[in-house]
Symmetry: D3
Subunit: 280 residues, 6 copies
């Protein structure tokens, strides 16, 4: 996934719009130097390509950049660049913050995926649409780097029925009629339904929804749902959502669901990345 | 702080670029409805004006919006809007996510400020530049809503000497000469120095830096620094940075520092906001 | 579907960046007037909301605007606005061109949908990704206004296997293994496969692809595919693509396919809209 | 004519905003490959430079690109690129659609120009301002590539009197006074007048308009206008507009007019371009 | 001429991106107030509509705004707004600077136009393309407000032959052939030629250029050119360029030229506008 | 200070949006050539990097570019580029205007700084926020190139009390209370106060403002202020503002102030730069 030039510009501008006052005051801008980013802990890297692009656009030369999606150990070299003190200092914190944050998301993603797949090797982990405002593209990139996928990209790409749609329908409780209508409107698409009660879970399954997303069901109840409603052809896809974290991902996976849907990935803590700057 | 029209557009576009497929499929877009946002916990609100603007730009009418910066109790009404089902569904999650995230930052900020001011009523709490990429403006707004302020807005607005600048200087250890140079370059500005050792802390204070920022000093050592280096005119400003959280803010405040500098605010967990949608 | 403020700005700027030289030279800018848009033929309207927004942003008052998606007869009033001669002349051709073009797409869409549904009342008509560069959002809006839908919004929202992916796979001809891999990667999604031979059409159906898209199959062969490969549960969805037009949509529909996929909609001829400007 | 980086970004983003889900699911992104674009019919090429830029920005290497404006024969190589499967698939349809559409405009332009110049070797063919919304720059580029030119770029660059201006003037029928006023306002500019009646055509010529544009005059009447109103110094320039197509361009040219003004070019059908992708 | 929403946003962002720190520190943002802009000298106003738009977008109410293009006397009211102290202070300097600068351009323009027209009532004054970078649209607007016009909007809208084109031509000195070629290429357009010698001035006139622009000719020589080369039909248009200022505009006008071309307008000194802010 | 890609695009688009009509008409675009920029007077260069970037983005090769901030003598080579006639002509005036304008600002800045430092070698010269609309970033860059600095970047980065804030305060005349409040709000920041009377000047100094900015004080009175109010620790910083120019900078410097604050730099006349274009 490629961030646009405008986004690289924007992230740079947040920090260096009117230049680096300290470097100007110290009159060190023209001195040559090297900047090295290393992992302070085991992590899944994301953001190294954006960091490289922004350092290059500042005039620095990127000598090495580990690839997005790589699992690296504590101490590993992530990125190395050479350039003037002006270029290195201009890009330092922006590159560091971007990689720390994106790698934080990627690393937590990998943890949740690992926890779930330990129990259920083929389970899918997907994120919701609730990304931090303005970060959707970078968030999705980091989540994919961590081994998960996106559930819905926005309102535009999938059909998902929520309870909140129903007050506007003539027969809000006739799940069968509603799902049939959705399938006729869009025969090509996998109709998804979010349910908040066991009754609706069964109703949606009977109405042949492609995916039934169970909001805040306990693993026990989910196990029961899987047992009773999963047909022999593997349908419907049983998704569990609401409060999924690295801690409870395994329990949900054990229940036999196909997919874990989580917003937790967006709010991962950044991982620490060490930066050392030296003169040449 | 006012987000630009382009930013309101951008946050909307992240979710509704090609419209709302589900509402189209259900053919409910023209039905009138009401959407109500309430707090699921005590919180400091931020983002209600942006939420209002984006709902308005979708054609909904905002009937009530609590003000950014307000402390509200669990259950309180935050925002109420009326409009077509199309408008309400188009804005629902974007408005909710924006308010949940920004209010999360504001609420954590209030907690850290409260914890610090319980001990030291005049202490200042300020954030670093390490905002989540692309969110700097909204993050700063939320932090101010929570009662803290910004430390540096970017590289452009303040002079702060880091250890990382020194390799490029002829006499990297002569703090007095360096600070004198900075003060001459910019007589109007408050020169800030980040120090990582007690020796440099004392050197920076003697060289009459305006602010000495102590990176990862324990409260005990900070107390000693305050005792020994704070002059009768209140200078230098003693700032503590590195790992400040709601848990340890009080301890640092007790040490007598003037300012707490923290990145923790940017990574606050969102607070839950309930949304109910009804037909009219 | 809502165009952003930036897009309304952009379409205006294409025509009036440095103002209206003729109106300046005639010194008539302040005179009040009325502008009326009427249909020169039966048409499905699209673009009246964008036309209204651009006229409003020029300072004119929109008195009436028929709704996007409406079928109107020759002579019907589409949009009426009042304002200064400067505002009316500034918006005239831009509003007209936008409505003529978008309504052209909507009108052709309606024709193809009508032709297909005459034969097969539940058939779906969807457009490809081959919109005229820079017009994707407006094109999709017009197509939806005309009663069709979007097939794929881009590379990001759907999984569709093309022959062009196969050279990079280890076993390019093992459709079953490929489709199984895709389904495991994304259990929630409806896997689509484009096929260009009858053998692959059968292979994709047997591998339980959700949608099999038949590229340039004749109606006769399509009928055979439907007969032989459609299972009792209605799967797979049979889509016909490649050269679908208003002329041959009925023939394809008769073959019993579920979906017609076409690029023709994007290249519809604009429909004529008459504009009359008078002084007040 | 150079599209901005922002436009290259925009056209890419339309298709690959959140990446290529199919290539991710197939896990083939890193495989090296080649992509070759060839003409499926004789055509005038346009868009190869934009296609090259967008492929390069995706990380592919462009090995060959024929030049915009070139007439090529069926089967000719238009563009060849090498890169990862991820880069090639990300750019494939966007590059193809852009070249097909822009070359469609260029090719139709060449046909109309050829038809007109067969009869009148020095006749000029120019386009109106009625480009498809958002495509003006690329449309004009394609039209110039095809051998025609632009008539007006917008409201800002030329003075052209329409009937629609007249209601706001004190003496709407005094063409002589109106044209004199326009000439005094802008002595440097070539005053243009659109006329819809033979009486006005003569009035505009007598008032020494630089260009008289005849809206929907038949070739016969145009020939009479040329005969009676063209002065010995070649003035006024006689332009024919309204419904000019490749079919009737010759007839209009035969009438002796100087310029053909047409909107037909914008709505040209795309020309087919074949794309083949292979692994390396 | 209408600045885009994006431009209004941009000019605001230059000053208030992260809010108004002083107003926050004083905690006066919610207090109601009034802001009044008055002329400190006689001036031609420009920018009041942009100032109004930016104040409105900050939440203030504009009570009065004099119209762009108005000549006002010292002390006259230009703009009055009411709103919170936060809104008024956020817009104060931006609105003031914009009006001072744009009115400075408009006022100088009026002076040059007046000086020239005192001598030659029908002379045209036009500006070059050398606007201050990023200000072209606002500059042109101010120049038009001051009673002059634009010469060329850019490279795209006019044909003007410079000496700098000639090295690339086969017969660089054959002005007649060059101009004939240009006229054939674009029969509708007024061909312009910049000349730097009397010989070329005569050559261009003989070759029937529509406009001959005389670069840095003295008024005496210009008078001779007018006398010898102006034909009875008023052609060619004689333009004088290079170093035209308010001081020498009259002398050039006396020489009988049709048009004065100047870059001086872009670099006008801003005019002082007084701002008073009061509480309500 | 680095202009964004979007800004380079924007400045180019101002001039070449729809291409270069003259070069097209002459059919010389493909001819190779050289373009050389030299100083017509002694100047301080600014803008050569932006000129280089824009020429490169047009496809020309920059062979030499003198560095921003360099003092060059009349006749010196500033920039040299080779490329097609199309590329050179497309960039010519844009590159020239940008360098002439930015170098004009830098050169005047150098003059004012020199005039002030002749008298007071350590005095600081800083600019206000009143940049020409849309040029803030380039203006600041030019001012820094000329040896001065920025005073305030906007409302966001500094605390400065104006008389205009006081009507909203409970005790508008209690400078001591106001300044104390500001210092408590932001202990890290250097509080600045603008004063317009000697009484306030003394009040602000006594209240320990960090910077006291004296608006339109004569040098004589400033000398008295310095004498009476400057404490032994060098505080407060005494700034003089209002009407500072190259002519009177020395007088103000002689008064002993620390800082000169001026808006004059923004309105510098461009310096002449010669451009020669030759064929190769």
């Amino acid at each position: 996934m490629r961030l646009s030039e405008a986004d690289i510009d924007r992230v740079l501008e947040e920090d260096i719009r009117f230049g680096d006052l300290t470097v100007r005051a110290l009159a060190i801008g023209e001195k040559p130097g090297r900047m090295v980013f290393t992992a302070r802990r085991d992590l899944v890297l994301c953001g190294s390509d954006e960091a490289s692009r922004l350092l290059s656009s500042l005039g620095a030369s990127v000598i090495f950049a580990a690839q997005t999606g790589t699992c690296v150990e504590k101490g590993a070299l992530l990125l190395e660049a050479e350039g003037t003190a002006a270029a290195l200092h201009a890009g330092w914190k922006t590159a560091q913050t971007l990689m720390e944050w994106a790698s934080g998301v990627a690393t937590l993603t990998r943890e949740i995926v690992a926890a779930a797949r330990l129990v259920a090797p083929r389970i899918a982990v997907v994120c919701t649409r609730k990304a931090v405002p303005f970060t959707r593209q970078l968030s999705f990139k980091a989540i994919i780097a961590g081994g998960a996928e996106c559930h819905r990209l926005g309102l535009f790409d999938t059909i998902m029925l929520f309870d909140e749609h129903r007050p506007f329908l003539t027969k809000p409780n006739d799940l069968n009629a509603i799902i049939t209508k959705l399938k006729e409107y869009a025969p090509e698409r996998a109709i998804m339904v979010e349910v908040t009660s066991e009754a609706d879970a069964f109703g949606a399954a009977e109405a042949m929804a492609y995916v039934v997303q169970h909001e805040k069901f306990t693993p026990n109840i989910l196990a029961r749902v899987v047992l009773r409603r999963k047909r022999v052809d593997g349908r419907p896809v049983i998704a569990a959502a609401g409060g999924i974290t690295a801690q409870n991902a395994g329990d949900h996976a054990k229940a036999g669901v196909d997919t874990l849907v989580t917003s937790a990935l967006f709010y991962a803590k950044p991982v620490d990345i060490q930066v050392r700057i030296s003169s040449l």
